[in-house]
């Protein structure tokens, strides 16, 4: 008999009582957080400073150079967005580069897993397809995608995908990015000492930089990953720390780029590796993901998810993890502290992301499978060192369905011969579905309840708003059982129930990792093309939210949605609230510019109602009738 399993909460307590420091203690230790930083009123872009603006109006209202609160907070925000955009786009670049290497025969561990998508995307890039081998097409497409990054005078190819109306708006505002890298460089340059000081102009630049992320950098990451690792199909899996096994070698892959993680999954299924594991007394090898890498291999291979961003240290605290393999983004340097209490090997793999205290095994596309096997071998060899007394795998795990994309929705709604978005648009027009909300982003110890995602999403689906998700937000809701088809009957309004029952889908659809927010852009565009609910994304009854955002990437994502015409609700304000003008611009004025805008609301229920109200406003503008079924509002806390 195995001992009775503890709960995840209990694991948390165990860490605390053993003095193992985790993100929550470190967060508390930072309290109170720097007020100037929170308000965005601190500038350290040059050596005239650092300068800060007195938010109470008594001390200085301008920095040494004369920049006021508007300029300083705008510059800070712009740099955040540029960093976020850079992060996603660099991810995209790596996948595109691997596609090229594969085509050149230099990356034999990979394959073209979606020929259909290779040809479709190559077609969009104007690459000849007929009579050519996949490898030849891959070379051309890899090169063309990489060229998008360095373009100087024209927009990346995927900008053609956007609705005509958005393209026109961007053109008129002169915020169509030329290339993907250039707007990021430009943003670093224009926020330098003595360059752009007009907050409105800086925000236009911010939107340009962010658009390069959503409609190019991230989109390339998504599309090239679909080509190399397979276009996702709806797939079953499990989520939460309970997916780790008592009697198997547990390997956790954490980070973002699927280049290594996908190959590691392959390596763990290798007969030789399984034999080795058995020789060490393990019954098998369990691989589980954390953060967006988890989402990448969940979407395409159904690999179970150990946890989201916030759970990375807890995963090690289970005492049952032989190795945690990381690449880049959202990896806490604090991991090494937690790991020092356990036998867990931490292995960094990316030349751009090394961590003191981690073993580094550098990943190279050219010998991916070799590296993967080396890592898996190390994990297996670590299994005998597991201290059974320290093993505390929580019992919680939950089923989920993942694997939805902007493309496969066509099939799920109409089959092979009638593939269409019509049923979705019809459901919106008839009021069965009020609208669609994308609830995405990180999880954050700042949000005390840690359930903001779940509360917001439940409130939305209860009011017949269909929810699409990505990233750690999707994982948070999956843990609460919202991503199973049965959730429709339990939590959703009657209209969504009818649609879910007709199609066989959950009321909350998992669309992938954080770069896969680009799938939401395409889904919105498909809705526009299907017709009847507006000529542009700004007219659609849709909105986005990141109730627990923390990464700069979230700022870039939010901005590309706002620039594309959507309302975006953040749980916490981003650091501009020290400037009244900036707050007014981002929450009101920008709506007249792009049709989108920001809102900030800590209470997830209230946040949900900001979205519902916005969707109702859009419905009214489209002259759509009332929603078909009434629902009750949950009392906001």
């Amino acid at each position: 008999m195995a001992k009775e399993k503890i709960s995840a909460e209990k694991l948390h307590e165990i860490c605390y009582s053993c003095g193992i420091e985790t993100i929550w203690q470190r967060y508390d230790a930072q309290d109170p957080h720097c007020g100037f930083g929170t308000l965005g009123l601190c500038c350290k872009n040059c050596n005239l400073g650092p300068c800060r603006i007195d938010p109470f109006g008594e001390g200085p209202q301008v920095g040494t150079c004369g920049a006021n609160a508007d300029t300083i907070s705008a510059r800070n925000l712009a740099r955040h967005a540029a960093a976020g955009s850079a992060c996603h786009s660099d991810h995209g670049r790596e996948i595109a580069r691997t596609l090229l290497l594969f085509g050149q025969g230099k990356a034999p561990s990979y394959a073209i897993k979606s020929e259909e998508k290779l040809k479709k995307v190559a077609g969009e890039y104007g690459i000849k397809i007929e009579g050519r081998k996949n490898e030849e097409i891959a070379v051309d497409l890899g090169n063309a995608m990489l060229a998008d990054f360095g373009k100087q005078n024209e927009a990346p190819v995927f900008f053609k995908r956007a609705p005509k109306k958005q393209q026109k708006i961007w053109k008129n505002l002169k915020i169509v990015p030329q290339g993907i890298d250039r707007p990021i460089v430009e943003m670093m340059s224009r926020t330098n000492i003595g360059v752009d000081a007009d907050y409105k102009n800086i925000m236009l630049g911010t939107m340009k930089t962010s658009l390069a992320d959503g409609w190019a950098g991230s989109m390339i990451a998504t599309e090239a990953s679909d080509i190399l690792f397979g276009a996702p199909q709806a797939i079953r899996s499990q989520v939460n720390l309970g997916v780790l096994k008592d009697d198997e070698v547990n390997i956790i892959i954490h980070g973002h780029v699927p280049l290594l993680s996908d190959v590691i999954v392959t390596a763990t299924r290798d007969e030789e590796m399984l034999k080795l594991a058995k020789s060490k007394g393990a019954k098998g090898i369990t691989i589980a993901g954390i953060c967006c890498t988890a989402n990448e291999i969940l979407m395409r291979r159904g690999v179970p998810v150990a946890g989201s961003f916030l759970q990375q240290e807890l995963a090690i605290a289970t005492g049952a993890v032989e190795a945690m393999v990381v690449d880049l983004q959202c990896i806490l340097p604090g991991l090494t502290t937690v790991a020092s209490y356990f036998h867990t090997k931490l292995i960094s793999t990316h030349p751009k992301a090394k961590f003191p205290g981690m073993e580094h095994i550098e990943f190279e596309e050219e010998k991916a499978l070799e590296v993967a096997k080396e890592i898996v071998t190390k994990a297996i060899e670590n299994y005998p060192k597991r201290d059974k007394k320290k093993v505390n795998i929580p019992k919680e795990k939950m089923e989920l369905i993942a694997g939805f994309t902007a493309e496969n929705i066509f099939y799920y709604l109409g089959g092979k011969y009638r593939g269409t978005y019509r049923p979705l648009n019809d459901a919106i027009i008839s009021g069965r579905i009020r609208g669609v909300a994308g609830v995405v982003g990180c999880d954050n110890p700042k949000i005390q309840s840690s359930k903001a995602h779940m509360q917001m999403v439940k409130e939305l689906i209860k009011h017949d708003v269909l929810v699409v998700q990505t990233g750690c937000s999707a994982l948070a809701c999956a843990r609460e059982g919202l991503l199973v088809p049965e959730a429709a009957g339990k939590f959703a309004g009657k209209g969504i129930q009818e649609v879910c029952e007709a199609v066989g889908i959950p009321p909350v659809l998992h669309l992938g990792s954080c770069v896969d927010n680009s799938r939401i852009l395409i889904a919105c565009t498909n809705m526009v093309k299907e017709g009847g609910i507006g000529e542009g994304i700004d007219e659609l009854p849709v909105a986005g939210a990141a109730p627990e955002w923390m990464s700069e990437k979230a700022i870039a994502i939010g901005w590309y949605f706002v620039a594309s015409g959507a309302l975006v609700v953040f749980g916490n304000e981003f650091p501009v609230s020290g400037s009244k003008n900036m707050m007014k611009y981002v929450t009101e004025d920008v709506e007249k510019v792009t049709g989108g805008k920001w809102a900030f609301e800590k209470d997830p229920i209230k946040g949900a109602h900001i979205i519902i109200k916005h969707i109702d406003k859009k419905r009214k503008a489209l002259k759509l009738g009332d929603v078909m079924y009434k629902s009750e509002t949950t009392k906001a806390k």
């Binding site: 079953r236 109409g414 459901a427 007709a502």
Partner: protein, 725 residues
């Protein structure tokens, strides 16, 4: 697709594909792979495989790739818990079922066991051509495929008769509980065949493929869609072939699988048993799977769910009915009875109801029928038409209501004048003698509303009140609605909306002319108000009335908008570049030839005259209407001259950029009197209350010199305005 339905369809498709495969293999074994496989008299091979896959199957061997495709479309049933999306898979299973059924039936032909006794079997290309065209061009409103058997023979007969009445072609077949509707009808001696619109296809569900074959060939033949262009073929069926399935009795897996195939074609299924309904729309135009237990309502339900537009071929009334009788008068001595006018209270009222509140074709006379009315007398009358339709809007009510005038007038021996609670109706002695009854008002209106407004009217029922207390009870409701409508129209200004409508109806004879229909200026023929044009656009989105977004206002005073300029440039075939809505002097609206009135400049009077078509005499412009008309029409901008509708004279936008109503110096007496009430009000609004009396008519002057003289005497304000030229 509910999970239960999806699972059943997936099982059914699997069974059908397995059977088809078994049959093909066995036949190959027995007859060799090159054995011919075909349906009689068709150039479309196996039509479903031809349309969807572009395949030209002529032999058993060539059926194998079709089976391979069908197999690839099969899916495992959704799991009990944690199921994956199943709608796509269920629809695929439906296609697999159709492909398999087609092969099974072809093999039956090979074996000589089709057509089944009393049944038609495969529908040949000849039938496709002769009857199919009627189906896709709308002459035949739709076709019903009945599967199974009614609970009893009587119900079976009633259902097919209901379809027959509506000219809906009915294919009968399949069985439930061991009984087929074919035998039910046979037992009741119902005549079946193409002539009677009741065609038996076969006693099993597999032979349902015959009517579906027929529909898909429609896409290839009449739609001109290339074989193999599957989605277009299926969409053609959805958009153009108004078919649906009616499942009588319990459904089995094969019926569900065939139903899923039909749904791919946009054909919904209505059942009389407890089934899981599929209401969200999208693959079909409306609901996909619906139940209706009440046999009295089941035909209605079918019509509603498929959106079949019913046409009544011949209006079943005992007097002749034709547009030729529209102008016919019934004089007092010819009259049997009359209603309204100044003789009794009467009203006509069209109101919108929910679909479930209207029983289509229901006509009820509350109170005495005509035979109980005394000859030569006047009686109270209230005609209330309840209409329902998915596209019906309250804005359309007055449009339908106004048509009651001509609809009723076209019956011989019926005279109708006026509208609303000011209507006046007479029935002639001769009509009464021929058997014309009060209920026939309903018969006419039901038929004509369906016929003329089929796009918006799905259902219509008529109640005719002939008792005084009823008429007095209901009339206030109607009057209230009339007033609301008037307020809504009156409150509507050019500025209050962002879209005008074009009318290019007359481009057949004035190729460059476009009417810009605005709330404050109807079409020049007087027939199209802004609301009418809006309604027409909704009825016929590709028709002559197109929405024109005003966009940027270029000149508010003269009425120039960017959107209108762009539009007019495009639709006038680039002959016109600019348009001023409120001026006759700069870029005025063009005219076709249908105008009710002409406005013409009178430079000596520094004003304008309006002359209506009915006025035959000379005008101060020195010409008669007919001569003037020659220089106004043809789609050219002729500053100083313009064709308009009568009511434009009392619009606030009447030549508003050129000085407005104060410029009006002459108009024929008849027109002036007809408009007097509203015209006087407008004069007051313009700040010249006595202007009405200052406007001259033919009794004062018919040539310019005399006109100017009387204007001077009366001190007409036009003379003090800035010079026009």
């Amino acid at each position: 697709m509910s999970k239960i339905v999806a699972a059943a369809a997936m099982r059914g498709a699997k069974a059908l594909v397995t059977e088809a495969e078994k049959l093909v293999n066995k036949a190959i074994e027995e007859k060799g792979k090159d054995q011919k496989l075909e349906f009689p008299e068709t150039a479309f091979f196996l039509p479903m495989a031809n349309a969807l896959l572009g395949a030209e199957v002529k032999t058993l061997n060539e059926a194998l790739p079709i089976l391979k495709e069908a197999k690839s479309l099969l899916h495992d049933e959704p799991t009990k818990d944690l199921w994956l999306p199943y709608l796509g898979g269920a629809l695929d299973s439906g296609i697999a079922a159709l492909l398999a059924e087609e092969i099974i039936c072809a093999i039956r032909y090979l074996k000589g066991i089709e057509p089944q006794p009393d049944c038609n079997g495969f529908f040949t290309d000849t039938i496709l051509r002769t009857l199919g065209i009627q189906l896709v061009d709308g002459r035949m409103p739709g076709f019903a495929a009945i599967l199974g058997a009614a609970p009893d023979n009587k119900t079976a007969v009633e259902i097919v008769r209901e379809f027959q009445k509506r000219s809906i072609m009915t294919f009968v077949g399949s069985s439930s509980n061991g009984k087929s509707i074919i035998d039910q009808l046979k037992e009741e001696k119902v005549e079946m065949g193409w002539d009677t619109y009741i065609v038996p296809y076969g006693r099993d569900t597999i032979s349902l493929i015959y009517p579906l074959h027929w529909a898909i060939r429609g896409a290839l033949t009449f739609g001109g869609i290339k074989a193999g262009n599957a989605k277009d073929c299926l969409m053609y069926c959805k958009e153009r072939v108004f078919a649906f399935g009616l499942a009588l009795g319990p459904l089995d897996d094969i019926k569900y699988a065939s139903g899923a195939g039909a749904i791919n074609m946009g054909f919904p299924v209505i059942a009389d048993t407890e089934i899981p309904e599929i209401k969200p729309t999208g693959i079909c135009t409306y609901e996909h799977l619906v139940k209706e237990f009440d046999y009295k309502k089941i035909v209605q339900k079918c019509i509603e769910v498929r959106g079949v537009k019913v046409k009544v071929a011949k209006i079943p009334i005992p007097v002749s009915y034709s547009a030729a009788f529209e102008g016919e008068r019934v004089r007092r001595e010819q009259m049997y009875a009359q209603f309204g006018g100044k003789f009794s209270s009467a009203f006509e009222y069209v109101r919108t109801k929910e679909l479930n509140e209207v029983l289509d074709g229901k006509i009820e006379v509350v109170g005495p029928e005509i035979d109980e009315m005394k000859e030569g007398a006047a009686f109270p009358l209230g005609i209330v038409v309840d209409v329902a339709g998915r596209k019906m809007q309250h804005d359309f009510e007055p449009i339908l209501e106004r048509q009651m005038h001509s609809f009723l007038n076209e019956a011989m021996g019926l005279f109708h004048m006026g509208q609303r609670n000011m209507c006046w109706i007479r029935i002639s002695k001769e009509a009464q003698k021929k058997g014309f009854k009060m209920k026939h008002f309903g018969t006419i209106l039901h038929a004509r509303f369906h016929d003329t407004y089929g796009k918006i009217v799905d259902k219509a029922q008529v109640t005719i009140y002939t008792k005084k207390e009823d008429v007095e009870r209901i009339m206030p409701e109607a009057v209230k609605v009339y007033e609301e409508r008037d307020t809504r129209l009156a409150g509507m200004t050019d500025e209050s909306i962002d879209t005008f409508y074009s009318c290019t109806l007359c481009q057949s004879f004035a190729p460059n002319h476009v009417c810009i229909v605005k709330p404050e200026r109807s079409g020049l023929c007087g027939a199209y108000s802004w609301l009418d044009a809006k309604a027409c656009f909704e009825l016929n989105p590709t028709g002559p009335n197109q929405p024109i977004k005003k966009l940027q206002v270029l000149d508010a005073e003269r009425g120039e908008w960017k959107g209108v300029n762009d539009f007019i440039n495009q639709t006038s075939n680039k002959t016109l570049e600019r348009f001023h809505g409120y001026s006759i002097m700069t870029f005025p609206e063009t005219s076709c030839g249908c105008f009710e009135c002409i406005i013409a400049i009178l430079p000596e009077a520094n004003g304008f005259m309006v002359v209506n078509r009915e006025y035959a005499g000379f005008t101060p412009a020195g010409m008669k209407f007919s001569t003037l008309a020659g220089s106004v029409g043809g789609g050219n901008q002729t500053p100083g001259f313009m064709g308009v509708g009568r009511l434009y004279t009392i619009s606030k936008k009447f030549l508003s950029a050129d000085g407005g109503l104060k410029r009006l110096v002459w108009m024929p007496k008849e027109l002036k009197e007809a408009l007097s009430g509203k015209l006087k009000k407008r004069c007051e609004e313009e700040g010249v209350p006595d202007l009405f009396d200052k406007i001259a008519d033919e009794t004062v002057a018919t040539e310019s010199e005399a006109l100017v003289k009387t204007l001077q005497e009366k001190n007409h304000p036009a003379l003090t305005l800035p010079p026009l030229m």
